[in-house]
């Protein structure tokens, strides 16, 4: 599991699980911090065209293991992802 190594200075780590890996072809990467969570999906859409409607809109997001609200409007305030944070894209689960 790629949850151990911290992101380098000025970055946060983002993890892609299950179906999310299909869109990114990687399980994790480092992105520049700080970044408003409201801008997270559009940031990923720029990197992975189509990921927003095909995947992210049915996903939840955690920051440092806690679920966070994603504002509808990306200009809204909301929490800001900080350097060294661990962010994860959580697609609908299929345990059991």
């Amino acid at each position: 599991m790629s949850t151990s190594a911290k992101a380098p200075p000025g970055h946060f780590k983002i993890l892609y699980f299950g179906p999310a890996e299909n869109h990114t072809s990687i399980t994790s990467e480092n992105l520049p911090a700080p970044l408003s969570v409201a801008k997270l999906f559009s940031t990923l859409e720029k990197k992975y065209g189509g990921i927003k409607t095909n995947l992210l809109e049915s996903c939840l997001v955690t920051v440092n293991l806690e679920y966070v609200d994603i504002p509808e409007d990306e200009n809204d305030e909301g929490m800001v992802i900080q350097e060294g944070d661990e962010v994860a894209i959580i697609p609908p689960v299929s345990s059991g």
Partner: protein, 196 residues
Amino acid sequence: MAKELQEDTCYVALTHDHLDSTSMIDRVRSPKAGAIVLFAGTTRDNFAGKPVKELQYTSYEPRALQTMLAICKSVLEKHGLTSIAMIHRLGVVPIGEESILITVSSPHRQAAWRAGEEALEECKAKVEVWKKEEFGGEEGGVWRANRDGATGVRIDDEKENEPAAGPHGPILRPGRPGERGHGPVVHLNSTERPVT
């Protein structure tokens, strides 16, 4: 090696090894309990009639363990259980083997039956584990979602039209706000049955 959390009489774990039902029964055994219920989820050899070669589970392990523990504590308190234990297997799980075990003990059997079912449904709705079904051949694998009507995501990105179901079938209770299955689930007793 299993990764595990324990709090009071709740035990949760994730492991890449075979699951051992006897040890999970022993974890909840108590002189205060008159009943132990075990649920063993095993992997099916087909999805909607299509042969499945094997299943593969991946997880956000530290997050999943916390969710499993929260479910266990909630179910323990709600049903007045003596003890509860939940373990999920990760990695490749060959057909017919256990992918999840849940054991609960309580003074009387009714609470244990109910709590066992509720713990499983909560797990399927919320625990951060993802399953991929491998069909073999050129088709690649398909990620599943436990919610009603969720389409599987094929590795080659083709859309799929079959309803999603876990290896133990679809979730059989209404959805709740905030559940990680992210949507409504199948009502077993509803007249509006999903097409199967």
